[in-house]
Amino acid sequence: MGKVGVVMCPCELEGMTLFDPEVLVEGLKGRKDVLPLIHHQPVCSESGVEAIRAFMEGNGLDRVVMACSKPELFGPTFKKALRQWGLNPSLSGVLGIRPTAERKGSDDLQEALHVIEEGIDEIKRRKPAKGEKTPFVKRAMVIGGGITGITASIDLGNGGYEVLLVDRLPSIGGRMLQLSETFPTLDCAQCTLTPKTVETGQHPHIRLITYAEIESVSGEVGNFLVKIRRKAAYVDWEKCTGCGLCQEKCPSKVPSEFERGIGPGKAIYTLSPQAVPNKPVINPEVCRYFTEGKCRVCEKVCLTDAIDYAQEDTFIEERVGAIIVATGFDLYRKEDIGEYGYGDVPDVIDGLAFERLNSASGPTAGEIRRPSDGHIPKEVVFIQCVASRDPERYMPYCSRACCMYTAKHARLYKHKVHDGHAYIFYMDIRSMGKGYEEFIQQGMEEGILYLRGRVSRLFRDNGHVVVWGADTLTGKKVEIAADMVVLATAMIPSRGAKELAEKLHIGTDEYGFLTEAQCKLYPVESGVEGIYLAGCAQGPKDIADTVAQGNAAASKVQALFAQH
């Protein structure tokens, strides 16, 4: 075996420097199996890359270890370059060496040397793949069937690539399917989304794998092997025609998760009448047959004998070349917020519940009626920044969409209840999208009263929800006996996002949002080549931004596929 090349980057970052390359080379002097290159410009520069090529070519090297400070940024570029030079990228490695303020901290130096030596040994152990190269699979998997995943899938499908769209729920559409109308145009969410979901369902290049979760992922770019668990639906989707009779006749009535607990759902359900695919599933936790051992009404009424109580989870394995992760968000649980009643005050609901309340397909058919007694609320208090921007107790970040959707809620409420009164407690109003500020102003014109301050307590009193808040503009405390309170709770990563990230070997931040390779220049790349991020899985954002990211991730995948 020939020698292994070692390249040290002399790059300087924010006044911090890497170890002096010459000192490091001095430390490697004892090893006869390495050939070091010292280049006095950053290796990621054009001259740096060129120098490495000349160095490898001149010495007949096929293996090289690179030590630089940002391997996640330079690594993919370097591997691409190796491929272009006709070398096998898997025989080279890019190591991360932390920059240090001191050029000669001896402990740090030893540690860095240790990392480099281990890297060299690891590279020496690698063997070139025998036989032909494994073929590059030009089909993509999109995890998460919300508006982001749908957007990315349609783009990829239109590009001619085969797409597998995996969703945890029985049908696609995600959070947007729960929304009533969207800002800043007040379009009906379902009217804008349904054509997209239908297009996805009927697209010749898109295959839906719904009610399924990712079990494990192995392999690398061009050849990921993904194992998927298809949860038991207890309904044979091949036989089912989606007539809906089973849902109509199902005797169980339980608070529906989709309706955010303010409306009833059935044990056998689809998420909406326009669900794609329009096939029901049985929730065994509430189904009378599964819990009490008798009922079987759905089985009796089904015209095609599609009900199958004995169904079990099945596993599918799929090979894909690239993966887009668009797992979306959840809302911070209002049950965890003490000062707002731990979710025990019945007329305190969260933003998504208000969306359901206002939605024509929701439990009240779009009439604003408060959950406790069905009365039309005359005074509604909306509270922004609930569990957002609260580093001490909840989430330190801004959830980005709440200023806008709260204004939207208040406006929609006033459009429906003309003599109603809407108050919004806010800290700042962040309306930086196109047409957003105008939207807020329109709301003020329509008579929404904005109160600058937080709410310290909510409690139920005599059928009202009493709100203790502040108006810092007058420096006074404000007490409002409201009929209903809507909390704009923080967006958090969707349940299980962290576990999924671990399976994919991609990073998450401390809150569980997936981390991009670099926040400005590589916003949809993960740290792993071939895996891309989009939408609220990466951080809170509104629909416009999330769709843009879905488009971006899809175009990245297409560029990747086009190279092979």
Partner: protein, 201 residues
Amino acid sequence: MDKPMTTVELPDIEGRQTFLAEVQERCGENLGLCYQCLKCTVGCPTAPYMDFNPNTIVRLIQFGLKREVLESNAIWLCVSCETCGTRCPNEIDIGLLMDALREMSLEEGYRAKEKGVVALHNAFMESIRRGGRVHEATMLMEYKLRSGDYWTDLIPGMKLFMKGKIPLLPGRIKGIDSIREIYKKTQKQRKVLEDREGKSK
């Protein structure tokens, strides 16, 4: 906060809506648009002497706190310089608003916090009614009678008079009839105001 935070007692929705609607109707401004950016207040020459800043007045109207607004001295200390309205990002003309509030305050029998301002205003209007333009000597005399403040600025006034800066006899403009016509048309309202002034003394 250097002051203890007191609780503001919001009136019921109806009262609140009525007051807001009434004020908006009168001044023709949409007060819902207020950003509370405080541009009006920081530019206001008399805000330091007001009990409520101009932006707070808008806030109190939104809250429907009628008594607080109509009893405040802020509405009387406003000199209608229009700096606020010129600078407001939402084109709320606070000068017009203050005018409307002053009228409402008098009409509804609230005690004007700054009696002198009302007295001077009325003396000014009377002076114009008499001659078509202001005649300082008679106007000031009337003001002093109305306000009961006989001594303030007496010496500077005498000095001005000695230098011939204040003409002794009131003149009359040519178009006095037109002026009178205007007064006649607005007489009814004026009468009310006069009565109020009498009452609040």
